[in-house]
Amino acid sequence: MTGSRMRCWCHPRHWLSVWVITLAVLCLWANPSAAVEVKTGILRVDYPVLAPVSRFDRKPDDLGFSGAQLGNEDNLTTGSFLGHKFEMATIATPPEQAVEAAQKLVSEGVRFLVILANAEDTVRITDAVGPEVLAFNALAPDNALRQSKCRTNLFHVAPSRAMLADALAQFLVWKRWNRWLLIEGSNPDDRKLGNAYRRAATKFGARIVEQRTYEDTGGSRRSDSGHVLVQRQMPVFTQDATDHDVLIAADESDVFALYLPFHAWTPRPVAGSGGLRPVSFHGSHEAWGATQFQRRFEKLSGRFLQPADYNAWLALRVIGEAVTRTNSDDPQVLKDYMLGDDFELAAFKGQKVTFRNWNGQMRQPVLLTDSKITVGVSPQEGFLHHRSPLDSLGLDEPESDCDAFK
């Protein structure tokens, strides 16, 4: 197999942030004295990555930004009736310039910052901009960000690995597919995801009958007629496994999970990073009025929506909703409102989404998709919780290590 090892899907780019400024249409019923002006920055950190296994998974240049733009436009429409102004600026940056880029946004008046980065950079950026800026994690799934590394000014609209793994686990347990063959990748993020599935199995009474590691040995992801090798290699890799109902792939690095369906030694369904996948949202989702949302996004961006777009849209809508209800642009006022009992937001997932006041994580349903349609939505029927069934997903209050919200 040949091919270049490193390929950047997005060039480190424009130091000049692009300000999308649309002034709210001044309407006669707007109160001119209420000068509520909200400036939101969208900061995306681009890492050198390999080409994806599937070309359907290529990252578009506007990933996250278009979702945020739709959220900003939604806010602008609502703001036009109330005299609230919303502006947003986007920056895509390499990791080494991320902090500088964030500070630049803050110097331009940004008090709300949506971050699309890995966990380490998300914390680094949040700490650098300081507690006066309200930050929203729209990408990093790391449980640690919701636990020991939580920050008082960092909210998480992206679901955690624990939430994603729990969402899938509930579906599998509901199906009574309780015997899992867990295959995890060899990179640190794959291990963290593997841990989330081990935790979910214990939590919901499933059994991991065997665990295997798929070593990432590098090399290019695709080559002409590479499927010939895959068809021979994957059955060999999965043979002689303990009897199992389902094969779970923990492969955040996108190395092997997509090769498992149809190639495993025993005919069993695949779930996790391939097959049936837990996601915050998906471009095919249509229930609960989502069709209109998808159409608006596609009209704006000319492509299908990805989870990062949904998360960014959600972050903007959280800000917009809090501004609408409080008539304020003060981050502290908005934060208090977001954590209070009155906050609620409709997000095309069938029930209102709210924030956990112990770690700033958004409570939300998780979709299960086969990449073509919505197969199911968790929490599943019968998984109860004294507060809300949504709290059966992810890290609950009694197990929280986060002190920042106390």
Binding site: C27, W29, D74, T77, T78, F81, L82, G289, T291, Q292, F293, R295, R296, K299, R317, E321, T324, R325, E344, L345, A346, Q351, K352, S388, P389
Partner: protein
């Protein structure tokens, strides 16, 4: 629980049979009931005397909002996936013509003289006003994000639109089609309905789980008076999702379809309180009265039936199988 339901149903049917036997029904006129079946792409027609389905006809792709002209001649159906409103002869079910509606029409309301349709277009954040006689678009009114619920005030001064993502009721003047007031309500407002004296407007918020009560005669115009919430033991709060509504003409009772809670709430309007929950079919969506208001019909999307509710008794008396995924319902006028 099931036993209880059976008893109620049987009791109801028995009572209805008694009524028939005593000739009580004879003064009531039989009206056709039209049910749009979102998944079946049909309209089911039911006779309100026998409560039997008498016809089912194709109604375009994904029929949802449904209404009838005041003279009972024309049936209007939002064919959402065809991006039009289809007009059928209400007697022969013959397709007559389409009206321009903008993309993905979901709900509309007809003004009392039948000359205007006010349609919400979710994709374009517009309310489209259509002249039903000339079959032309009269006006397009920019509103909030994802317009949905529509209502016309009894004096025809106001057209109300609710926008699901902006979470507002917009008050559009019928004189110049400009928005004059906006009122914030809870998440995802789905439906709006006036009392017949025009004094109160109710707006149901599906995700917020409340019905907002708006006083139309406030000091500075329409103002939010209160919000009414719901509570059913054994049903998670998340599933108490108010959608379709109907009000008795004495303005005493508001009936609210509660979606996945499978119940219709009965609200005492003077007290602003829920007095009862009526168990109906699954995913109850829209409601309509028979013209004499003896019966209220609910569409139950996930059980493919409609429930007949005795309005005076506030009890479900019968369910009738219709097509796949019933969405809207309208009863022909006398």
């Amino acid at each position: 629980m099931i036993e209880q339901i059976k008893t109620t149903l049987l009791g109801g049917v028995f009572a209805a049979s008694l009524a028939v036997a005593s000739g009580y029904v004879s003064d009531a006129q039989a009206n056709k009931v039209y049910v749009s079946n979102e998944r079946g792409n049909t309209v089911t027609v039911i006779d309100s005397d026998t409560w039997e389905a008498i016809a089912e006809f194709p109604a375009g792709n994904r029929p949802r909002g449904i209404g009838i002209s005041p003279d009972g001649k024309h049936l209007y159906v939002c064919a959402s996936d065809d991006d039009t409103i289809k007009v059928f002869d209400a007697e022969t079910y013959e397709f007559l013509w389409s009206l321009p509606s903008g993309p993905d029409p979901e709900l509309f309301v007809i003004n009392p003289d039948g000359t205007r349709l006010y349609i919400s277009n979710e994709d374009d954040n517009l309310v489209t006003v259509v002249d039903t006689v000339k079959k032309t678009v009269v006006a397009e009114v920019p509103v909030g994000v994802e317009p949905e619920g529509m209502a016309v005030s009894p004096d025809v001064r106001w057209v109300i639109n609710t926008s699901e993502t902006t979470n507002m009721a917009h008050f559009i003047s019928t004189e110049d089609y400009q928005i004059k007031h906006n009122i914030l309500v809870d998440q995802r407002p789905r439906y709006a309905h006036f009392t017949n004296d025009g004094a109160l407007l109710f707006v149901s918020s599906e995700i917020g789980g409340t019905v907002s009560v708006i006083n139309m005669n406030g000091e500075t115009g329409p103002e939010l008076e209160t919000k009414i919430g719901f509570e059913v033991s054994g049903v998670q709060n998340e599933w108490l999702q108010p959608v379709g509504m109907r009000i008795t003409s004495d303005n005493e009772w508001l009936f609210v379809a509660l979606g996945p809670a499978n119940r219709v709430a009965v609200i005492n309007i003077p007290k602003r309180e829920v007095e009862k929950y009526i168990l109906v079919g699954q995913r109850v969506w829209q409601l309509d009265f028979t013209p004499d208001e003896k019966y209220l019909l609910s569409t139950n999307g996930n059980s493919n039936d409609i429930t007949v509710i005795d309005v005076a008794e506030q009890e479900a008396i019968k369910s009738i199988q219709v097509g796949q995924l019933p969405w809207g319902v309208v009863v022909a006028p006398n």
